[in-house]
């Protein structure tokens, strides 16, 4: 996130697109409520009438996968009315002229035709966003999990720069990261193309620095992503080491994933439960939960926060840090760290933006990177005065319609996502008594009129079939889902939503298109 969570409370306009914050990030929703109390206007763009939409001022229920047309329409109106921040663009952004040509290619009416929102509403929302003195854009998986996911984000950046709503205290872009340390994992370089702190693998002097530090030659060729590695099981990739992940449930088109997992010559899974993925492993190593280890998580606002060990792991399980040290030493690397704090000091040296992050400084409130040295107080919001690359750059987002749209055989839209009571693959939360009591069975939300047509009552069984597989879930009849679309949470192993999902990837980010695919829904046998 460019700014901090508590900054949201001061924003005069919050533009939430593709994020069900009330269910996925309830505490951040609390800040949005504070903004509403302070007079901020909240606009929600989501095909579903989520709890956020229910509490917002304006809810735009767009057609699934048509975010760029809406944003283009808004930007066109902002340009026509001259509401854009010319002085900000002049001083701090490049490529405006070429971007203007792209925007002029769009009209509000065309945008409205594609995304299903009346032109007047597009104009009104654009004005509110542009005119407010500090506007924030909040987005989540609803934006990124499309074939044009990265283009959606680019369009949002363009909108933000167009109106100059970045680099101040209560403006900026708020990607709500889904997991407790997904930000940290990216920061620490668990990505095929970058070392820690996003230092590119291809850059020779960076590589030299790491080779010198780690005492081993390093490859300059970016590696494969998760989806590519799974697809090339038994061919390019023979040995796989999975730590605390459950691709057998979280990857799209999960039937193929399960077959691929069998094709590895040697698969090691390190986890705390026997997850669906661990069952296919040749070697299972018992890791430890957050309560049994010391270390740091980085949350969505770039804040390093301490995690302290409360109890010992069960049986002879070890904490993940020690397992990795054992494996490292077994491979001849020098992994003799006494404690995670040692590792942090090595990170301080090798990753400049995290130079000043030490354990005793994290004690009180954690630190937000970039924090280059021990005196630096951490950065509350980014891009103040200048962008990291100097001047910002307008990039033209090219809109790609969802790969698999409804047709005669599969007339329904399917969207998968999170619900408030469970977390991701459910390995942790479905074992909690209170959460299992809240929701314990897989369900699909369908519109009341569709349910009537199907002759299905509340809780009745419905069979949902896509080109890749079929599952049976309970029907949850509600008017918050549009007619002809169904929403299924993916937390339930016994009816894996990801059996249905389409493995089409965004070319850049390789993120699968979880939010849109075509399915058929019939009355199932209970």
């Amino acid at each position: 996130m460019t700014n901090s969570i508590t900054d949201l409370a001061g924003s005069k306009c919050i533009f939430i697109i593709g994020s069900n914050a009330a269910e996925s990030h309830p505490i951040i929703m609390g800040e949005i409520y504070k903004a509403m109390d302070a007079g901020g206007v909240v606009i929600v763009v989501d095909p579903r009438r989520t709890a956020v939409a229910e509490n917002a001022h304006i809810h735009l229920a767009i057609e699934p996968g048509t975010d760029i047309p809406l944003l283009a329409g808004m930007m066109r109106h902002i340009m026509d009315e001259g509401l854009y921040n010319a002085e900000f663009i002049e001083e701090r952004v490049e490529g405006f002229e070429e971007f203007r040509k792209f925007v002029e290619g769009w009209t509000v009416e065309e945008a409205s035709r594609q995304c299903g929102i009346e032109p007047s509403m597009i104009r009104r929302v654009a004005e509110i966003y542009a005119k407010a003195d500090e506007s924030a854009v909040v987005y989540c998986m609803g934006i990124t999990q499309h074939v044009c996911g990265s283009d959606n984000v680019i369009a949002l950046c363009d909108l933000t720069m167009l109106c100059g709503h970045v680099g101040t205290e209560h403006s900026g872009l708020y990607p709500l990261r889904g997991q407790n340390n997904v930000q940290g994992a990216c920061d620490m370089g668990a990505l095929p193309n970058v070392y820690p702190a996003y230092q590119p693998v291809a850059d020779p002097d960076i590589r030299a620095k790491f080779e010198e530090a780690w005492g081993r030659p390093l490859s300059d060729k970016p590696g494969l992503t998760v989806v590519e590695m799974v697809r090339s099981a038994g061919s390019k990739i023979r040995g796989l080491f999975i730590m605390a992940e459950n691709p057998a449930l979280s990857e799209p088109d999960v039937n193929h994933v399960v077959e691929s997992l069998r094709k590895f010559d040697f698969l090691v899974v390190q986890d705390i439960f026997m997850s669906e993925t661990a069952r296919f492993a040749d070697l299972v190593l018992p890791g430890s939960s957050f309560a049994e280890k010391d270390g740091t998580f980085t949350n969505t606002e770039r804040r390093f926060q301490l995690v302290r060990k409360a109890v010992d792991p069960p049986g002879s399980a070890k904490d993940d840090f020690s397992i990795l040290c054992l494996l490292g030493n077994a491979l001849g690397l020098n992994f003799n760290y006494e404690s995670p704090a040692d590792v942090m000091s090595e990170i301080n040296r090798l990753a400049p933006p995290y130079g000043g992050i030490t354990y005793d400084r994290l004690e009180r409130q954690g630190l937000q990177w970039p924090c280059p040295n021990e005196e630096h107080p951490g950065t509350r919001f980014l891009h103040q005065g200048r962008f990291t690359r100097g001047k910002g750059l307008f990039v033209v987002p090219n809109h790609v319609a969802p790969k698999e749209l409804p047709d005669e055989d599969y007339p329904w839209y399917l969207s998968t996502g999170r619900m408030f009571a469970h977390y991701h693959t459910g390995t942790l939360t479905r074992r909690a008594k209170q959460l299992d009591r809240e929701v314990s069975r897989p369900y699909g939300e369908i519109n009341s009129e569709d349910a009537a047509k199907l002759g299905v009552g509340e809780g009745g069984a419905i069979r949902v079939t896509s080109r890749r597989g079929s599952i049976v879930v309970d029907a949850k009849i509600t008017d918050r889902v549009r007619k002809g679309s169904i929403f299924i949470p993916f937390h339930f192993a016994e009816a894996r939503a990801n059996i249905l999902t389409n493995p089409a990837l965004d070319p850049r980010s390789k993120t699968p298109e979880y939010k849109v695919c075509a399915v058929r829904v019939e009355k199932g046998e209970s």
């Binding site: 229910e54 001022h57 304006i58 009346e118």
Partner: protein
């Protein structure tokens, strides 16, 4: 389609249906009133349903709350006179509880007079019709309760 969710309460006029009223009648007093009205074939508006209970004491306050959640516009609880209850002082316990519930309903804006707790012995059967008519008119004058809060049957959020 875009929906403007205006944040001050949606001004929904009382729909044409007469207000829905649920009556918890204790078998030994309240029901006799209802039976008396029936015997006299008094024409009554059909917008009420009677749930016979053994004693007013078994009317759970949570059931009254659930009734409002399921779209009722008014609830009447009919028990025996204080001192005349076959179950010793069970009706006074119910009276105190529901009095407190009325304070909560008043606080949250549903209004204290949507829950009517009355005591009448068998011979006052003829008053059943008057109570019902007065209560229906009183509730009909008020705004419909059919807000976005109510659950599955009224409108699913």
């Amino acid at each position: 389609m875009a929906v403007e969710v205006s944040n001050n309460h949606k001004q929904q006029k009382a729909t044409e249906r007469t207000p829905r009223i649920l009556v918890f009648a204790c078998k030994w007093c309240g029901l006799i009133g209802a039976d008396g009205a029936g015997r006299k074939r008094e024409p009554l508006p059909p917008n009420f349903r009677v749930i016979p209970v053994e004693c007013v004491g078994s009317v759970e306050p949570d059931a009254v709350i659930r009734a409002f959640a399921d779209g009722m516009d008014g609830v009447i609880v009919m028990g025996c006179h204080l001192g005349g209850c076959r179950f010793n002082d069970a009706n006074h316990a119910a009276f105190k509880r529901l009095e407190l519930l009325r304070a909560l309903l008043e606080g949250v804006g549903i209004g204290r007079d949507r829950l009517l707790v009355t005591f009448g012995t068998a011979h006052e059967g003829h008053q059943f019709t008057d109570v019902l008519r007065n209560f229906t008119n009183l509730i009909a004058k008020k705004e419909s309760l059919d807000t976005s809060w109510t659950s599955s049957r009224a409108r699913m959020i």
